[in-house]
Structures are given as C-alpha cells and as structure tokens.
Amino acid sequence: MSLLELRGITKAFGGFRVLEGVDFDVRPSEVHALAGENGAGKSTLMNIVSGVLPADSGTILWEGREVQIRTPRDAQNLGIAFVHQELALAPELTAAENIFLGRHPARRGWVRWGEIYSRAGELLRELGQDIDPRRKVIELSLAQRQLIEIARALAFHSRLIIMDEPTAPLGSKDAEGLFRTIGALRERGVSVIYISHRMREIYEVTDRVTVMRDGRRVFTKPTVETTTDELVRAMIGEELKARMTAEVTSCAAEPGEALRIDGEFDLVVHHGEVVGLAGLAGAGRTELLEWLFGAEGNSVRPIFVNGLPVKIRSPRDAIRHGMGLVPDDRKGKGLVLGASLTDNIALPGRRDRLFLRTADERRSAGELMGELRIRAVSLDQQLRYLSGGNQQKAVLAKWLSAGSTIFLLDEPTRGVDVRSKGEIYDIIRALCARGCAVLLASSELEELLALSDRIVVMHRGRIAGELTRADATEERILHLATGGSN
C-alpha cells in the first residue's frame, strides 16, 4: 500500500490550469524523484500536499484512507514535512532548540534543556553527521542547516519529507553527505520526495521517478528502467521542441560590441543582439547580472562598454554607461510599490538634475505606458495595485525612460500572465531591433530559445559553454547546465 496517494489533482490560478488530473503516489521507505521544467507544476503539487494551497478537485489518500489537508498544520500532523530551499530556522538559537522549536520538551512549563540536547544529538547522529547540538545555527554551514531541518522533520515524527532542489546551494562534497542522510532516512522507514532536475542525482539516490510537464504527469517509472535521454525528452515534450525551432526571429547583430568581460569569464554582447544566459537554479546568473550592474560594489575584473574599459563601482556608474537592470525580484528590488507609476518610471532618469521636471516626466511616462501597453488606472496609480505583468513592464519602462542601451534582464517573465509574457517578448525584440544589447537570463529554456541569438550556459558560477542559435537545443543546454562537457 502507498503511504501517500494523489488521485486526479486539479488546480487553476485565475482560469489558468496549472495541474490537470495529476496522479501520484509514494511508497513507504521510498525516495521518489519529481522532475520537470520550471512551470511544470511540481511546486504547486507539493504545496497542495503540504497544505499551503488547496486543490480544486481530486483526492488525497494517506495510508489508504482519504484525508483533507487544508493547512500546513494538517500536513504536519499527518507526518508530512517540507524542507524548503530558503531554510526557515532561527539563526541565533542553538541547533537543538531549532530542532524542537515550538515543541520544547517540558514539564509543567519548565523547559527540559538536558533532554533537548541529548535527543537532538541522537537525531543528528542517526542522520550520519556529527554536529554539536549546542552550536548556534548561524555558526553552521548551509549543508548543516539543511540537516537541522531534516532532523526537525524527524523530531515531528514525519514519515514523508519533501525536499525542493536540496543540492542547489551545496558543493559536491556536501551533496554526497546529503545523499548519505537520505539513505539513513530510507533505512528508518521515512519516504522522501526529491525535487530536482539534475540527472546524476536522480540516478544516484532515487528509487522511482515521476516526470511532469505542463501540469500533467508524463510517467512514473522505476529509476533504473529509464535513461537520461528519455527523462529529458519527457520533460521538454516533442511537439514543443518543433514549435520553438519554428518561432525563431532574427534581428541581425550590428557590428560593434556593447558589453564585454575578459579573463576567465569570457562574455560578449553586441549591439542589436540578445544573448541568452542559461543555467540551473544557483548557477550564478543573477549574481553575474548584479555584478555587472555594480550592485555588489567595487568590481575588480575589467568590463568593457562599447569597447572602452570602464570601472563600475555602483549602480549609478552602470546607469551612466547606459546599462539597465531588470532584477529577478521586481517587488523586492525593481519597484517602489507604494509610489506612483510616474515616480517609478522617472526614478533612474533623475540623476544629475536638482529640480523635478514634472511635465516632462509625466509625458514620457504616459508615452511609455501606451507603447508598452501598461494597464493602469492612471499615471498616479500606486504600483502595488498593478498586475505582475504590468509591474514588470513598468520596470522595463524605467530603463527605456532613462535611455539605457544595454539591458540586463533577469527572469523578465517570471510570475507574469501569458498575454503580458507575449508583450514582453515583443518589447525585447523591439529593443534589439533598435540596436540595444540584451543579456537575458531565464530558467525557461523555451524563452531563451525563442529570443536569443546566442545562448551562454552557466554551471556552478562558471561559463560551461556557448551555443549559437542554430546549435541550441533544450537537450544541449540541459547537458551543459548539468555539468556535461560541450
């Protein structure tokens, strides 16, 4: 009998179906890989299992009995734990206290510290790693913190632990340690759902694999009976591949480079060219773009803009040299949500002037609002009331109004509806037709293939290879991104 069984799970967000009748099951003591591209529905499915989101329809069985999981607490009580990518620990408390956080063993309200430390120590040893339970979490490495979360799940008597790309932030040695821990969990009778798209890991630690694509389950098979090629094809889909190659548009690169980095990290973007930046989560795409933009302060490596060496010490310098960054997190880094559309669009263009030119700013913002089809009530509307797609277009409008010529785009269509996505693609194509240079980082391969003239693939903070438009396929990109050689 399965430990967890999902039957016909369906979920839609605002009319957009993200899960369509998904069946899925996990057996006791099984490590089950859940693979698929971003947007395939893996996270939504796991959010339903862990009580973060309700399913629209379908049933959930736990040990053969139908159950309702309405809140994270319900999931916890059943014995389901989610080890998140962003770890949820209190850094200033000890490892042991984090493991028992919220459920300190106590007698009549008095915490029993001795018991906390001894039980925490036991749990950590069972997981195959020697961590002093009295150390503060802030002193521990990322891998050790992950282990604390897993120990925490065990202290809750969890029988199913969901891990979302757990090796993304880890080095290879730490990853090996994690695999040993997963082995120890299996021996204890705990099941693991392992979300990853790294092929090597799927083959190394999992018993069965389920591939999802476009909100459906493609197949579930014992891992040993599949091949890498079969998995990749299942993740991408044949018909999609055909469509993508047909959709290619061309905007010929003008002579003259817009942006170049030399040395071990070799990258060139020409005027009128879109260079795609591919890589798995944690490969360093965001870091590269923010570094180019001076967000991390002084740069040591030389950057060439329009062929001339420049020093970029701050975003101000980058803007002065014609760069514009559309960050990965538009709410956190891209926009002042409480300020008006005009104020947001005009902000980067306001350097080197003391008094506002309100009339100019409004006219320019109004023009961009029409040109980019930003749907807002008025120029004075606060950004927080705009949809994700319109907010993202406002970030692009900032740099258009500042007269940028080099666009650094980080996941420009993340969390954006389909219509806005198409419109943003049009904007990117129009930019390059105007002779702007675009460096486009995206985790959607489809997007990179549709827009890029060349694709640079990153792996663990380095460039793993470069593919021309003619050579680029999803398989080749994934191959390089997962550490294969060119």
Partner: protein, 317 residues
Amino acid sequence: MKKTPPALVLQRFGPLLGLVILCATLGVLSDHFLTFENLINVFRQSSVNALVALGQLVVIITAGIDLSVGSIMGLSCVLAAMMLKSGVPPAVALAGSLAIGAALGAVNGTLLTKLRLPHPFIPTLGMMNVARGLALVISGGFPISELPASFRFWGAGTVLWVPAPVIVVIFFCVIFHVFLTRTTVGRDIYAIGGNPQAARLSGVPLDARLILVYTLSGMMAGAAAIVLAGRMNSGFPLAGSGAELDAIAAVIIGGASFFGGVGTVGGTLVGALIMGVLRNGLNLLNVSASWQTVVIGVVIVGAVLVDVIRKRAAERG
C-alpha cells in the same frame, strides 16, 4: 481633473479634519479659545515642536528615526549663548547654531551608513546621550542668560502682529515642502523609504542621501534651539528634553508612516498644531498638566489606529 476617491481625500486631509474638529469643539467649550490672540499664541507655542518635527519628518520618510534632536537642541542652545556672551555677532551665532546641529546630524548619518550600524536607533541614541552630556559639561549645568535683543527677536519678537517664530516655521515649511515635492533629491528620499533596494538599483546614492537626511534633522534641531533660546532669553543645557518624542508624535499624527515612503510637510505642521491646540485648550479648560499628558498619549495612539483601520478597510474594499 479626475475625481479622487473619498478614502484618498480622507488620507490626505484626515489630520487637518481632526484639527478643525478639535478647534471647533474647544471653541464651544471655551470662550477664549477661538480668539485671534489665542490662536496666534497656540501657533507660537507649537513652533519649536514644528521645527524639530520637520527634520524628523524627513528622517521618518526614509523609515528611520532620530532620537538625538532634543539633545542637539540643548547643545546648540548652550553653544549659541556662549558665542553671544563672548561678543560674536548675533547673525554668526545664529548660523553657528544651525551649523552645530547640522554637523552632529551628519555624524549620525555617517555612523549609520559608513560604519554600517544596524539601525538609526543606535547612532542617534548614542548621540542623544553624548550631546546632552556635552551641553551639561560645557555650561557647568547652569543656564547662560541675558542674550542680545536682536537674537531674542527670533523667539519673542513680532513682525506687525505675527510672532517671529511663526514666520520661521512658515519659512522652513515652504523650503521643506519644495525640497520634498519638487527636487529629485527629495523624491529619492521617498524612494529610499519605499524600497531601498529598488532605489539603489535605480541609481540613488543611498549613503549620501541618508547622511543628508540626518544632517537636515540636526540642522532643524539647531533652528529650534535658536527660537527656544530667544524665547527663554537664555541658553540652558536641558533645553529640548523630550523634544524628540514630541516631534515623532507630530510627524506620526500628521499621517507619516514608520515603515517609510509616506509623509508630508502639511501633515506634519498639522500634527504639531494638534498637539499645541490640545495643550492650550486643556489649559483653558483647567485640566492639569498630568492629565494633559495622558490625553496626548491617547491621541497619538488613536491617530495611528484610525489610520491603520482605514487602510485595512481600503485594502478589503
């Protein structure tokens, strides 16, 4: 003109509405309240708080706080009086008081940004103690009285029938209003309060703006010190004790948010006047000073509570 939704009108003019209702109520309860002389008097009594609050407003818009302004007032007050006593011309002493305030504020801002102290509470709390201590050390703990008439003018004089401090307040209100609404630097300050990350990635020089903000706050404490010293005809080391809290109260009653990005000069002036009117009106009604403090405490919490409830309602509707 497009019609502004009623909720927005209330948000913009809520504090003013409160002030009007308060004045009308006091007018009914007391015959003396709504006389021209009394109203001018209220304005004069509110002027020191209004000046300090203008500086505090700029800080609070960046989601910061400046606890040191009261103590900076004390130190500026003592140093200006000592300058006057040693024969420095009043105009120079005046500029000196502003400069001392600005310099101490710049130290706050530099500690916050360049030395990366975690929160403005820390450097300004430190400065609060340092400046007060220095004021006491330098003055020996005694007030320095009998200041020249041309200096006293700024606290006690009148132009026609308008008190000089009121003119000073109006002058700075205009300057700060233009600064905050019409200059790029002013808008940068709102952007920083709204989202410092986004502001930085849009090219706003965070450190320079924050240092400026604390410098302005210190300078306004220096300005308030001039008015206070003029009115009291002395520089006394305990001048401005608790002024930082009154100023914060005025800013918050005036509709600014501790989370930053929001706040206006008009609102802050109204906030300072509400506090002045309350004190004055309660005096006229023979309410004891101790009870006045209780009432002001309730008004501070009440004003913010109304704001919070209205915002929640707006978000739901």
